[in-house]
Symmetry: C2
Subunit: 277 residues, 2 copies
């Protein structure tokens, strides 16, 4: 059991920031990543559809006899985590709870901001997870749908990105928060720009980094750590290879992707049809 | 034959600008619209995948015994029009050729600009279609991936949208164009802002409006005009109902959508599996 891989999925390349954090913390674990580029983005879609897509992604990864699933996507974690746990029989870790717990632990004035996609923010998943850990918290959140396209365009710190962030963050900053959750795996790439706008007195929470710590804990608790050193390379699967794929993916991973294979859901019988009926 | 409906599809709501233009020019025709919100956007995806999606969309509409298909999406028109024509037996009209022909007819200095999604621009479909009509044309094009998210966010004329347009249009305007094709069905909503930035001496071509004229001509040529006045209402089908659907859709149509039904591709056997293998 202990030498099985960890499966990680996202709607596209954003989850590579989580992949990178897990790889750094757990260098002896073999990782299998699936990016659902054929149906990206999830953040603008309905809950039912995100649940269907997430279960298909999980079933795809489970074909590789993995020991754990990491939902490296805030939208899928917000909308489909409990649903996934009900439908698979290995541990499932999302990015929302680790980020929420870290924020609840670090805030001093109990005022926490959250930014994410429309789907993530409207789900209230972060608010619920924060309040479970810190019932007296005041939470101020805002959906920021333009940030993902800005990151994909590679505009990480130009005037347009700064102005957009100022609009999206205005109401949150008016509420004297001391902690801000980056509730989307694309946002760590805007971390330096966001920190400049919010000021150094506000601490940013990168849910991906916090998730890596949770993955470590779950492996420990279930005695699932790889016993030896890693023998096989990590693998990447994608459901489409769009233009600029390599440029975008390496922006997130910090290095070029190796071992990338394209797959098609139509070639598989993942048994998820019932979800959409 | 003549009282059949016209089928129109797009990846989402952008095609409603084309729907609106056709409805205005052909008020006696019944229209059936399909918006593939479950897989929106197409503009960032690969050619093979866009072809598969387009054929599935067309097969879906053909279940309603339509007399013609309008591909109300620049990406699908650029990447999948010939492929569709090879695979269906009714007339298929896209938005690229009508826009290209109009631009070739209207330019006086033979310098034409084109803006669109990454997929549309990289396909070179507009350049090819313009050169077929005007071999001596000089064409300057640029992919503008942030414009669709800006329109979806409803930021049609704020400072961010203006700055973004200035960046995207700079190189094109340096080349003394007198005609600019809005090569994406979202862009007509930015028409006034774009006109302000490029100046009144540059004429904008709205491919959707030109497409409505082509639809009229194809109906005439094939003797397919509805003989009486319209008896049944138009219908709208969508593959997902995302948040803000009504707000976004009515922004494009100029009025609320009635008769909207959600459908799932998983419930159908559209016979397109072979495409992705």
């Amino acid at each position: 059991m202990e030498n099985k891989a960890i499966g990680i999925f996202d709607s596209g390349s954003g989850g590579l920031t989580v992949f990178k954090a897990i790889k750094k913390l757990l260098p002896d674990e073999r990782l299998i990543y699936f990016g659902d580029f054929a149906r990206i983005p999830y953040g603008t879609k309905s809950k039912k559809l995100v649940q269907q897509y997430a279960l298909e992604d999980a079933r795809f990864l489970m074909q590789y006899d993995i020991k754990m699933i990491v939902v490296a996507c805030n939208t899928a974690s917000s909308m489909a985590l409990d649903f996934l746990k009900d439908n698979v029989d290995i541990p499932v870790v999302g990015v929302v709870k680790p980020g929420a717990m870290a924020a609840a632990g670090k805030t001093r004035n109990n005022s926490i901001g959250v930014i994410g996609t429309s789907a993530t923010i409207n789900s209230n998943a972060y608010s619920q997870a924060i309040l479970e850990n810190l019932p007296q918290a005041d939470i101020y959140s805002n959906a920021c749908p333009l940030l993902v396209p800005l990151v994909e365009e590679g505009w990480l710190d130009n005037k347009i990105t700064q102005l957009t962030l100022k609009i999206y963050l205005k109401d949150i900053l008016d509420n004297n928060i001391d902690t801000l959750i980056l509730g989307c795996t694309h946002y760590p790439l805007l971390g330096a720009t966001i920190q400049k706008i919010v000021g150094s007195h506000i601490q940013l929470i990168d849910s991906g980094q916090e998730t890596a710590k949770t993955v470590y804990e779950v492996l420990t608790k279930n005695n699932l750590h790889n016993k030896g050193s890693k023998k096989d390379d990590d693998q990447f699967f994608v459901s489409d290879i769009p233009q600029k794929f390599e440029e975008i993916a390496s922006r997130f991973l910090g290095e070029p992707l190796k071992n990338v294979k394209q797959v098609s859901f139509d070639d598989m019988n993942l048994g998820v049809d019932i979800i959409s009926k």
